[in-house]
Symmetry: C2
Subunit: 379 residues, 2 copies
């Protein structure tokens, strides 16, 4: 196992890239989808099961973990990997995004942000320095800079001002992170949907130098087309030889469009959250397992999927346990959805390696356009 | 695999017995503890995980399954084993007990019982004949007679009258069950805490002839001592060469006391229900994982337990995920509790085989009396 953090590209196809990130805790095949383990668990899953879906890396949420059970407690207990029984790489976000979306009574200054916990109302502060400290205490392999991410749409002056503060915070994050062999610090590009601001942000980050670069400030309400328009140019402002991470994305077609535009890493709660609400992803699109059409259906969700939900259970069973509010419903559907997302990444890695991404994408779209299999009618 | 249902005793120690029930779907080592899979799932568990805890047989609830997804639907889908992905034996109760505890607007007559579903208020009826039909549609390996079970305390006349109706229902159950090779029908003794009524009930059942006999009407509010007093004589009224099943029991010390008195099979929701509410069973007694004393405790629930919760996680983690209301809490604690219960059964089977049940029981009680390990104080 390499003791260094490094990234190597194996193949490109158009703007799409495939490669691997090496870390002391194992390799991350790119393009990579990171399941989200918000509170030290990927909801409804055992970590060994998450691994069997093909996940090389998880994302942990600094905001949630700093509040409960606290970074200091996790550190005393040997770090997040040991705590949650996940031995492979973990990326942690900086906490900034979730403070803005979840916490109460937020106050933002040049220094950082103060807020009240959504759990118990207790007062907390996050700064670039404190975010770096928390992520160090957690033992994160890939640490994210502390930034501010304005919701879109937002006016250009607000976007520019916010981006420039995030760039000052990026420098403070870099300074506070220090030199930690085997651990990586990623900068986060901001600038909304303004190409010149994106470029200015990228230049600032490249001057500071990071181990990887995130495209931040997308998937925050702008819509898929605007996101793709931004991804048509924004990744090009970033170094080719470092991983590019699109935060909080997304739906399968978002992911495909992002990979096509040169993104190497993504994360989203969608497969696990949807699994708990009965939304199922297959190559034919989305299934709502709650629908009565599944009640007598002996077929699997997808006959070519090898996950436990598809190997061992009918749609009728999955419909039943969802309706009965049984935990195994969330367990099985999450397992399936994570398998679908990881299979999607593997297919894209293979297609890029083979130089056939365009054909693969056409087929992906054509199969999805067919929609789910016809309902069973001969009951 | 034998195509017949049979029971053989391997050893006895005092009144305690160990042996095996042979069924076409596999052997059931006795004394056996049956986890409860109410709605076609042992809550919070995958069936293959239930099997790894050592369970040879599950219990399914006729009342729940007849209402949702219905026995007819499960039959169309290939039976309960296939539906819920549990290939080993399943025992189903008759539905009578849960109609009385869960359903609305019950009306009891000699014919049977009519009631309203607790799920949607729809009207249903259960009779001995309908209960046999439902259990056949489910594909149950061990079918229970339809009976009435009065709560205790209850007056003697009520107990006697109810018992005699249950005996008439037992004959109707036997007639309706017919001849089903490889499937067993168990009679259920009633008679409350009245020895002569218990004996009368046993004689009636023996006249009808069953493949096994349950001691019904206990664990319904009478308290442990009264239950044990009844078990001091009631099993002796039953044939020695057939399995004896104590329904709905129980806590670990209830189980030990029942095995000591000649019981071969038991079932209870306790290990799974407790797992979801943070109650943990270990050889030292009960742990409440919610308690603050566990928040910084790096130790496992029980250092000699080999379940995933004990092998891979600290008390601190289990405390955290319980507090955070994460599904993995119920998943891990249920897995642990079911492992504890199955290990307890294995220890008793070994002790009976070795002729050392009395010593084993003394040790069981002595270790429990120690209580949980001391809290960690050097944080």
């Amino acid at each position: 196992m390499s003791e260094k953090f490094s990234f190597s590209l194996n193949a490109t196809d158009g703007m799409a890239r495939t490669g691997a990130i090496s870390t002391p805790r194992g390799a991350i095949r790119t393009p990579a989808f990171m399941p989200v383990g918000t509170s030290a668990t990927v909801k409804a899953m055992m970590p060994e099961s998450v691994r069997t879906t093909g996940a090389d890396i998880l994302l942990g949420n600094t905001y949630h973990l700093m509040l409960r059970p606290t970074a200091e407690r996790i550190h005393r207990l040997g770090g997040l990997h040991k705590f949650m029984n996940w031995k492979r790489p973990i990326l942690t976000d900086s906490g900034g995004f979730q403070v803005m979306s979840l916490a109460g009574l937020r106050k933002l200054t040049e220094e950082g942000v103060t807020f009240k916990s959504h759990i118990d109302g207790s007062k907390h502060a996050l700064t670039p320095e404190r975010s770096m400290e928390i992520q160090r205490l957690l033992g994160s392999d890939i640490v994210m800079c502390f930034d501010e991410c304005p919701a879109l749409p937002s006016d250009r002056d607000r976007i520019a001002e916010s981006m420039r503060m995030s760039m000052r915070w990026a420098q403070r994050s870099r300074d506070a992170f220090g030199d930690r062999p085997g651990h990586a610090l990623f900068g986060i590009m901001q600038g909304g949907l303004e190409p010149d601001l994106r470029e200015e942000s990228a230049e600032s980050l490249k001057d500071i130098e990071f181990d990887g670069y995130a495209v931040g400030g997308l998937a925050v309400g702008e819509g898929q087309q605007s996101m793709f328009d931004c991804l048509d140019y924004a990744p090009n402002f970033l170094p080719k030889d470092k991983p590019r991470y699109l935060m909080g994305v997304g739906k399968p077609d978002d992911i495909v469009g992002a990979v096509k535009r040169g993104i190497d890493m993504m994360d989203c709660v969608l497969p696990s959250r949807s699994g708990r609400t009965g939304q199922v992803f297959t190559r034919y699109g989305v299934i709502n397992i709650k629908n009565a059409r599944h009640a007598d259906d002996p077929r699997p969700l997808d006959e070519i999927c090898s996950c436990p939900a598809c190997s061992n259970y009918s749609r009728a069973y999955l419909h039943h346990v969802f309706r009965a509010n049984e935990m195994i419903s969330g367990m099985l559907l999450t397992w399936h959805n994570l398998t679908y997302f990881q299979n999607l990444m593997q297919e894209m890695r293979d297609a890029i390696t083979a130089g056939s991404f365009k054909d693969w994408e056409s087929n992906f779209n054509a199969v999805r356009a067919q929609g789910d299999v016809e309902p069973i009618t001969n009951i």
